[in-house]
């Protein structure tokens, strides 16, 4: 994963893990790389990784068991909540951008429906 140097890196680490969780690439009980491993593979400051991991622990996304490693904790309802939170963030950004381009609520709804319909057609075509 390439980090966007314009955004705080620890946030990007957390976001990346959240995405993996939401997509099901990580299951509760899965072991995630140790802080040091992560820092090395992604070439980031171990302090930054520590900050990210600590926040994930505070968010109860993961838990560290001494001597064994860090494991994914969240699942079920918790995961759904994170999923909804992430969706809310994306929606907020989307709506703000569309509004700043001058579109009204009806415009946005129409365009979204059309774009979604388009996507369905494309998906069908591929099949």
């Amino acid at each position: 994963m390439v980090f966007d140097s314009g955004q705080p890196i620890y946030r990007q680490i957390i976001d990346d893990y959240q995405k993996q969780l939401v997509r099901g690439e990580l299951q509760p009980g899965d072991k995630i790389p140790s802080q040091r491993e992560y820092a090395q593979t992604h070439q980031v400051n171990p302090n930054t990784v520590q900050r990210a991991y600590r926040e994930m622990e505070a968010m109860q996304m993961v838990e560290t068991i001494r001597g064994q490693g860090t494991f994914v904790r969240v699942g079920g309802a918790e995961l759904q909540r994170i999923r909804m939170d992430m969706a809310a963030e994306v929606l907020e950004y989307f709506i703000e951008e569309m509004r700043s381009l001058g579109f009204t609520q009806e415009d946005i709804l129409q365009m979204t429906a059309r774009a979604l319909g388009q996507k369905e057609v494309e998906a069908d075509d591929r099949v």
């Binding site: 705080p8 090395q40 992604h42 070439q43 400051n45 171990p46 900050r51």
Partner: protein, 231 residues
């Protein structure tokens, strides 16, 4: 912790540092950024005691840098090792001076950096020489590690190895690393805190992540903006 209190340093008619105040807390990676001639090298040399300030005071853990040399590892921009030595001879030499020499790390890094002990320092490529210099400072458990332009003139693959070496052995909270470079992009994701120097003065300093959040830009873009405004 390293403190610079109202430090000024001139070399002849050139003012390298002009009444600067800086402090480097222990256990973090610092990026010392700025254009050529900003005073980055001078800052490092003053911290190690290779130069003395004309005015002001430099303190390392509350004492003079000269009393702290055993805690310091320095990787200068120049080729400072005896070129007739092999890597083995250079390592032997260093071993005799530093009680924090870590033989296991040395062996590991030899393999990781793909270096051979029989290599004669005068006969190897620039990239290999840079790796040798790094090997000798990284094979220690030194509380302070100073790197002056560790990546300049080095090919991309070697740069990767160098950065990986720095990360894998960094001991957060215990070790302090100060990297002076104008290649900000390479070390962007590596540094905890940054100091931007220009013409011997501090233009900006702070926590890297906070600066990114505040300004919504990378450190590189922040520096460009800072220096554009200065001019």
């Amino acid at each position: 912790m390293i403190e610079f209190k109202e430090v000024s340093k001139c070399f002849g008619s050139v003012t390298a540092l002009d009444g600067v105040n800086m402090s480097f807390a222990a256990g973090k990676i610092f990026g010392l950024f700025g254009p050529n001639g900003a005073g980055k090298s001078t800052t490092l040399k003053l911290a190690i005691g290779l130069n003395r300030p004309d005015r002001g005071v430099v303190l390392v853990d509350g004492k003079s840098p000269l009393d702290n040399k055993q805690n310091m590892a320095f990787l200068p921009e120049v080729d400072h090792l005896y070129s007739w030595m092999t890597l083995r001879q250079a390592a032997d030499f260093m071993r005799s001076f530093y009680s924090d020499w870590d033989e296991e790390k040395y062996r590991e890094l030899l393999v990781f950096l793909q270096l051979k002990e029989e290599m004669k320092l005068s006969r190897i490529s620039k990239g290999q020489r840079a790796k040798c210099k790094l090997l000798l400072v990284a094979s220690r458990q030194a509380p302070y590690l100073f790197l002056d332009e560790p990546l300049s003139g080095i090919d991309v693959l070697t740069r990767d190895e160098i950065i990986q070496t720095l990360i894998r052995d960094f001991r957060p909270g215990e070790q302090t690393i100060i990297i002076s470079t104008h290649e900000i992009r390479e070390v962007e994701n590596l540094v905890d805190e940054v100091v931007f120097l220009d013409n011997g003065q501090v233009r900006l300093y702070g926590d890297a992540e906070e600066l990114r959040t505040q300004r919504g830009m990378s450190l590189l873009d922040i520096m460009k903006e800072v220096f554009r405004n200065a001019n």
